[in-house]
Symmetry: C2
Amino acid sequence: MADPKTESLIERMLAGDRLALARLITQVENRTDAVPAIMRAVYPRAHGAYVAGVTGPPGAGKSTVVDRLTALLRAEDQTVGVVAVDPSSPFTGGAVLGDRIRMQAHALDAGVFIRSMATRGSLGGLARATGDVIKLLAAAGYAWVLIETVGVGQTELDIMKLADTTVVVLVPESGDAIQTMKAGLMEAADVFLVNKADRPGAPALMAELKFAAHLHYTSAASPKDIDWEIPVLSAEAQNNVGVKELLAEIRRHRATLEAAGALAARRRARRGEELKSLLLDEFRAALETRLASGELAQACQEVMDGHLDPYSAAREALALLGLRARPGAQP
Amino acid sequence: MADPKTESLIERMLAGDRLALARLITQVENRTDAVPAIMRAVYPRAHGAYVAGVTGPPGAGKSTVVDRLTALLRAEDQTVGVVAVDPSSPFTGGAVLGDRIRMQAHALDAGVFIRSMATRGSLGGLARATGDVIKLLAAAGYAWVLIETVGVGQTELDIMKLADTTVVVLVPESGDAIQTMKAGLMEAADVFLVNKADRPGAPALMAELKFAAHLHYTSAASPKDIDWEIPVLSAEAQNNVGVKELLAEIRRHRATLEAAGALAARRRARRGEELKSLLLDEFRAALETRLASGELAQACQEVMDGHLDPYSAAREALALLGLRARPGAQP
């Protein structure tokens, strides 16, 4: 399967070698040719970790929350992998890497593995790479994986879909910005955490979120596979206030998912989505080749010259690729 | 081509009937089956408008800027189509529809056509629908199309790619939020506008943006097809201060593009991208069908059950679809 060097890295990683794990993660992050072989090899052991996501606007204190959760889990002797993802998209913060410095408390702890990931230009590949890193951490034996991401766009939402439980961290200052995004927040969040709760505006924000969460719970948009009203917690993560309660809520969410059979069902659906997205990426690559120099190049030129509309060209191209789902269907 | 009713709508739209235009836009927005026929019919006349985009964080005053630009263009007897796009994504603002009320000054002006668009759940389709609406407005004879969108994520950037000139509107209050997003901003912006420039912090923000724009200009990331350092303007759009200068800069950008042959080249590349994205969407639809019940259903089940890793399944599936670009290439 994999080349001998990668094979040996995988073996050492499965035996607990952190350096081997770090190197495999680098391969996954750089999307090297060895990735499919790596993932095939670790796949059978890649399903054990519980994945919690922590997202929210820049400055909400996500890194501190992740740091304090890690400390609590370590106090119980649970192993923890941390993946800090920075999509570096415009209009968002991108200081995740710097924040990692705070996690240095865990740097010498063999039960904690911390990794920062950035986009390097390809937003589309980031969710896939993050998903593969989660599998590597699970295969390496980490019981918990915490994903942290600055949550502002589609990419961050795609990343949060990798989590079994998603915590959305907000601060009183984010009040204005969240006024108009409640519907999206409700879809992403399993738990709300109002951090820096000693600041003015915190009680109002909590009341508002509780009201919105309750409305969502009674609406058609609420998930049907579990009975869950999004709880709204307060914290001062910096002073270690409220983090124990947060971990308890994450566990209550997990227990609720498990009792309803929803954890397995959701992970099942997630694997289907993963296959679909992989196939789409492959099609995209094949398409690039064929549009540039293959059998679709002429239609592409005509569209670029403005002589042919893209809808007609697409209909032609799909026929050439043998991909018309139903004859007569409109592209 | 199109059914007789749509055919008649298209004819009336091309003859200047605003109601027919509105109905065709609704078809495009709802992605009905008639869209390919509509776009085929209008395509030959759909390339005349100059498209300017206005984006920026919530509360920056984008609607007011668009309103004042429209008034200036109308004073010159230029026709203007306005498309206000609200991706309604989480963590962003979504008050564009409400802001439309301000545009009521132009409601009775036959030389202005205003339309708001929202996602209705499918972010991916929004950029395509916006692109098609721009073509409809161009075919209906509008000389200028102004696109306004709350700029925060990938979708908004995709929408801004439809513009020939993109104006990024910022306010002193957005200072913190933009600290870390400069690279992305520089890629999106052709002109910076610091609005509400009477507020404290405006001169500092302008100085900062000018410095960043100059760094970008001298960097490898700066576009190579034109010689353009992103100008930084100030405005109080509410008081009609600085909008004339903004329009002048938009026109200077247009003239620079035209003189370098870059306007035609960029529109050409944009049409190629449009075809590619259309083909990807079609493949996605074909894939859904085949994964659910077609020849890929079994592999999909095995992946969902966790018995087969997605990379191996993708390799198998692509072979079945006859889509392996090169034998032996890694999925």
